[in-house]
């Protein structure tokens, strides 16, 4: 490797210079009475605090470097993702956190295993410099896909209730009757991922790739990583939304393939 370029160190004065640009932006918005200056300031402060905190946490995890702490970190990430998906839903039923948690764990778990153990083959298997950022990207995308899948499935089933009953009356099973709603939900979950695969590199440079290039990685290596990441994201969204829709639609039906009245109220 001829790449010897390394990232320039930044001190707190550099951060303050960037911060002053934020003040100019907020001032501009205040001057024009757009009314967002407070939100801008809050966002500025939160970005600072949150990222600084994450920096310390990551530094601690990397330095401590024990498998159980890293596994625990992954579990916390999944728990937070699950909570976010559930909070965004209108019908927060009792079982929803469990099925969302299960779908995200399996979907991103398989993906993370393949990328770290089969493709990159990290040493040791829990090497946090790889595992944690990769998990972040994959779980984050599973989160978005799962949110869309549940949202769409619920709204489709509610709005197509008559069609579903007509299917059941023809002797369809609950799954057959719900299939077109499941399809819509899985489609809705995947569309943002497809959109980003369509424009990646043309309209946008992904954050991870940019970061790798900035820190001196050969662009080709960075690109190879990014290609793998994109495929892995699509895969984990597919698995998560498949599992989630199939676990979710059941609540609308009885074991005898009848619509459950209570599920709609």
């Amino acid at each position: 490797m001829e790449y010897t370029h390394t990232l320039v160190d930044l001190n707190y004065l550099d951060l303050i210079i960037a911060l002053s640009l934020m003040l100019i932006a907020a001032g501009l918005y205040r001057w024009y009475r757009i009314g967002l200056e407070v939100a801008l300031i809050i966002g500025t402060v939160r970005t600072f605090i949150q990222l600084l905190a994450v920096g310390y946490v990551l530094k601690f995890i990397f330095d401590f470097n024990r498998w159980y702490l890293i596994v625990l970190t992954l579990l916390v990430m999944i728990a937070v993702a699950t909570r976010t998906v559930v909070q965004r839903q209108q019908r927060k039923t009792k079982e929803l956190p469990y099925i969302v948690g299960f779908a995200i764990t399996v979907g991103s778990g398989i993906t993370l295993f393949v990328i770290t153990q089969v493709i990159i083959q990290i040493e040791p298997w829990y090497e946090p410099h790889y595992l944690i950022p990769l998990a972040g990207m994959i779980i984050g995308n599973s989160l978005n896909g799962s949110t869309l899948a549940v949202e769409r499935l619920d709204s489709e089933i509610a709005s197509r209730r008559m069609e579903i009953e007509a299917y059941l009356a023809l002797g369809a099973t609950a799954r057959q009757a719900a299939l077109s709603c499941i399809r819509s939900a899985m489609k809705a979950a995947m569309i943002p991922t497809i959109n980003s695969m369509m424009v990646v590199g043309i309209v946008s440079l992904p954050g991870m790739m940019t970061g790798q290039i900035l820190s001196g990685t050969s662009p080709f290596l960075a690109v190879k990583y990014q290609i793998i990441i994109m495929y892995m994201i699509a895969f984990s969204v597919a698995i998560s939304s498949f599992l989630l829709t199939h676990l979710r639609f059941r609540r609308y039906f009885t074991a005898e393939h009848q619509l459950r009245e209570e599920a709609f109220s």
Binding site: E163, A166, Y167, A169, L170, G171, Q176, Q258
Partner: protein, 227 residues
């Protein structure tokens, strides 16, 4: 004609959200016969029909189909033998043909073009409808499409829940003619809900009068139905 009992209801009651909807219903429906269920709105007619193909469960009592408790018949099999046409016709995405392919895809068998054409004709639709978008049909045509779709399961019984209520006068009468034809040609048992006495006369079956969740006796039924 064999006068077998097709459906038998024994002490059937239905309670929804603590409210009694049907009380102690005892009824027999004979194979190949026609029945009209009459009664004011909210009296429980739709609920009664939906118990017969197990879209809903009775709260107590038993329902026998060909002498067998319907709970012991796989529900998807029962519903193929007992077709249902709803008050408001339901069409699926795509063409009329796509709609008629649904029963085959449910059963997982290849479609039979001849059977489809036959069901279409029996329901009073021309073959030229096959390529039309189902959403674009008139309400009457949609209701006929629903009838044809149910026929593709080769049912023994047809449950019709006010199938004519969304139709204009003439269309309603021709639909009833088709239903009579299905009974005559295929020997289907017909159980139809209506609240129009004229439709009951055209169907010319036995009248069952429901009021407040109970079936009225023969004498009261006659006096109500003859008004």
């Amino acid at each position: 004609m064999v006068c077998r009992v097709k459906f038998e209801l024994i002490n059937v009651s239905k309670i929804k959200n603590g409210k009694p909807i049907l009380r102690n219903i005892n009824l027999q429906f004979l194979s190949g016969s026609k029945y009209t269920i009459l009664g004011p709105s909210g009296s429980g007619k739709t609920t009664l029909l939906r118990l017969l193909n197990r879209m809903e469960e009775p709260s107590s009592g038993e329902i026998l189909f060909d002498g067998e408790n319907i709970k012991n018949i796989p529900v998807t099999k029962l519903r193929k033998k007992v077709g249902m046409v709803f008050q408001i016709p339901v069409v699926f995405e795509g063409t009329v043909e796509d709609n008629l392919l649904v029963p085959y895809s449910i059963k997982g068998i290849p479609p039979d073009k001849e059977e489809i054409k036959k069901a279409l004709t029996l329901s009073g639709l021309k073959e030229s409808f096959l390529s039309q978008r189902a959403m674009d049909l008139s309400v009457g045509e949609k209701q006929r499409l629903n009838l044809a779709r149910a026929l593709l399961n080769n049912p023994e019984v047809l449950l019709l829940d006010e199938p004519t209520s969304a139709l204009d006068y003439e269309t309603a009468l021709t639909l009833l003619d088709s239903v009579n034809e299905l009974n005559r040609v295929l020997g289907l048992t017909i159980i139809m809900v209506t609240h129009q006495v004229e439709h009951m006369r055209i169907l010319n079956g036995s009248a069952i009068y429901i009021e407040n969740g109970t079936v009225l006796d023969k004498k009261t039924t006659q006096s109500r139905a003859l008004i």
